[in-house]
Structure formats: structure tokens, C-alpha cells
Symmetry: C2
DNA sequence: TGTACATCAGTGAACGCGCGTTCACTGATGTAC
DNA sequence: TGTACATCAGTGAACGCGCGTTCACTGATGTAC
């Protein structure tokens, strides 16, 4: 039966949020429309009232994931820390380079979770990744602005390092390398500087 | 009709080599058994005379790709360079961090091409990635041994940086970031040192 | 505000397609004598 | 070395299954008057 505008908007939001998690957890081809709709508490037929195709949802779900992650890099309103931007970066890196991030892709970085699938997922998805990456690089550049002479280059290098570390750590599976690579990147001078005292 | 042992072995090799390229170019789910066999110059029915399943081939194709790449890191026999191991690294990095590597995944690094799909491809594939990553890390460690106080950590950091750079560069598609991130990682101090004079 | 009708979110069956895999078959290769 | 038979690599049709997508239907919501 027909739902109110409010309920419809809520359904759409639920679908995007569920998709954003499932795609990161299982990969773009590891989640079917029926799986997804069931996880969102609906049946698959209704999907096309919200999206023209699975590809369109993938693009939107990735954009949503990037927003979520980018928000974590924004300084909290009214943060009492002396350098709120640097503080946000420190927290972000501490979470990013952790065993929890490796094992919980569903709430982690979309670049690390979907990165090597994105090139085969069509133009919409590539555009979402381009927009998301720009956004994150801008935030990182801002956060590194106070400590680095070339903050944009430093941001790009930092992003490469941390994305690579998570991709490799997950790809090799459980074993010695899985933790070792995260630990090694944590001791990278630029990471150490950004983390400040936070090394636990 | 039945083929000679030699011809059979050659067919098998052709399938693995073709798969190794196609999987890197299009992703594991972007290549069907029929596609693959046609590219190898055969029909799909014969596939199961060589492999018990597609998953088994994927694991072998990835192992093959890692071997191919690891070989490039080995010093050439009779290399006249003063430091053959360092010279091999320099050549490797110069090719790795290039627009050609970004656009030609089929002959490039399997970690960068398949990294984020590997965790969903089963235990055999994860094992192939673990073995391949160990092999490459060992080679990089050896090559960095002369210039770095902690060569193993440096190798892990270097690998993270370059894998991340290629993954991101491909994911964002053609645009400003695609080249910028490669250029930024090329100016990373550890990369500059490893490249030596080679910056073209 | 109340009524009558059009809209459309969600359901669940159905469609067509491509995938991985199986199978009967062919005929050259390998092997036992 | 020659012969007779078993093996098996490769072919191409077929199978079953799951996928993305479509559709007729339901009934509450939205809207025009």
C-alpha cells in the first residue's frame, strides 16, 4: 500500500544506509538487490520505486559512505582542543590504522573496501569515488596544513599509505602480515606526527 | 581429440596466463569461464580437464601474477650495476608509479588490481595473496637493506604507499587526482631515495 | 472540513539472461603386449 | 617395432541456479473539489 512521503523518504534512507554497509562488507557483486532489500526489511520488488537500477544505488551508497567518513575528519563543533582540525585527524588515523577497521569493513573507508572494484562499476561509481576522494584529500590537506610545508602532497601520500595498508591487510587474511603492515604504517614519520601522542 | 602431454601442459599454461591478465584487467567477477577459454583459444567445456573450479583457477592465476611481478624485483643475472638489488628496485618503482601501470592493470600488480576483491574470493585466493605479499615484501626488504635502518618496516610502508596510490588513481577515474596522486607518491622521500636519479 | 478519486510504495510471482558446471561424444595419444 | 585397446583433451549442447528487472495487484495516502 502507499506510504506517506515521510515513510517513503525513510525507506529510501534505510536502503542507502544498508547498501552502504553491505557493499563495503561483501563487495559490490556480493550483494544482490533481494539480499539488500531483505536486510532493509522489505521485499525486492519495491526497490525500483526508489532507484532506476542497482548501479544507481551503488553510486549513491558509495557517496553516502564517503560522506560518513569525511564527517569524521571534520572538527567537532565546540571542540576544546587547541587545534581541533589536527585533533580530528589524530582520532581518524587512530581508528583507521586499527585491527577493528581491518575486520569491520562495513563501517570503514570505501576506498579501502571497494577500491579495486570501482574501476569496473561504471561511470557513476567512478564519479562518486572521485568526488569522495577529493573531499577527503581536502580535509587531510587542511589538517596537515599546520605541520607540513607541502600539505597537499603530504595528504595524498598519507592517504595512499593508509588505504594501501588496509587493502593489503585484508587481502592477505589472518596471519602475521595482517597486523604487521598496520603497525609499520603507524610508525611512518608523517603518521606519528599526525597522531601526536596517541599510539594505543 | 586427445592431445599430447606437451600440448596439454601448454594449454594449461595458456589458460593460467590468460586468466592472470583478464582477472587483473576486469576483476574476478568480470571474467566468465567461457570468456576466458575463448580468449585462450578454446571452448569452455575443456576447462574442467585442467581445473576443478573457477575458484581454483583464480588462486593459481593470482599466484602466477605475483611470480611475474616478484621476478621483476630480482636482480638480473650478470647485471653490471654496482648495486644490482637496488637497481632492480629503482626500475620496479619507476614502472610501478607510472600512468602506464594505472591504465594497464592486466600486466600490473595483483594487489592493486584485485586487492579489495580478494577478501571475498575464498581461502585459496587469500592464501595466494598472503604468499605473494610475503614474497614481495621480502624482496623489497632486501633491496632497502642498504639504505634503511629498518628495512622491513620501510618495505611495508613503501608497499602500502604504492599499492594505495594505484588503487586510488584507478578508482577516481580520469581526472586531476589520477595523475596527482602518483606524482605525490613519487616525491615521497623513501621513494625518491629508492629511485635514485630515475625520475622520468 | 468532508468526499471521491488518482496516485503510488510495497508485495510477491514471473521473466530472461548469463553464469558455473556437467555430460555424451570424438578421435588422436599413450600404453600394454 | 607393430598392433590393439584404453585414455582423455577438447567440443558444444544442456542443466540448474541466481541475478537484475518487470509487472499486476493492494490499499493507504495525497489531492482536487
Amino acid at each position: 500500500m502507499r506510504r506517506s512521503k515521510q515513510a517513503t523518504a525513510e525507506s529510501r534512507r534505510t536502503i542507502v544506509e544498508t547498501a552502504s554497509k553491505l557493499f563495503r562488507a561483501r563487495g559490490l557483486e556480493g550483494v544482490g538487490v533481494a539480499d539488500l532489500m531483505q536486510a532493509a526489511g522489505m521485499t525486492h520488488g519495491g526497490f525500483y520505486r526508489h532507484f532506476p537500477s542497482k548501479a544507481a544505488l551503488v553510486a549513491e551508497a558509495m557517496a553516502h559512505a564517503f560522506s560518513e567518513v569525511a564527517t569524521r575528519l571534520e572538527p567537532r563543533a565546540g571542540d576544546a582542543a587547541p587545534e581541533p582540525v589536527a585533533a580530528a585527524l589524530s582520532v581518524y588515523l587512530n581508528v583507521y590504522l586499527s585491527a577493528g577497521h581491518v575486520s569491520h569493513a562495513e563501517s570503514g573507508c570505501p576506498m579501502a573496501a571497494i577500491g579495486s572494484e570501482a574501476p569496473h562499476a561504471g561511470a557513476e561509481v567512478s564519479a562518486a569515488f572521485a568526488a569522495g576522494a577529493h573531499r577527503i584529500v581536502d580535509r587531510l590537506t587542511e589538517a596537515l596544513g599546520q605541520t607540513s610545508p607541502e600539505p597537499r602532497e603530504a595528504a595524498l601520500r598519507l592517504l595512499s599509505s593508509i588505504v594501501g595498508a588496509i587493502v593489503i591487510s585484508r587481502a592477505v587474511g589472518e596471519g602475521s602480515l595482517q597486523d604487521e603492515i598496520i603497525a609499520a604504517v603507524r610508525t611512518d614519520p608523517i603518521v606519528v606526527r599526525a597522531l601526536g601522542g596517541k599510539t594505543n
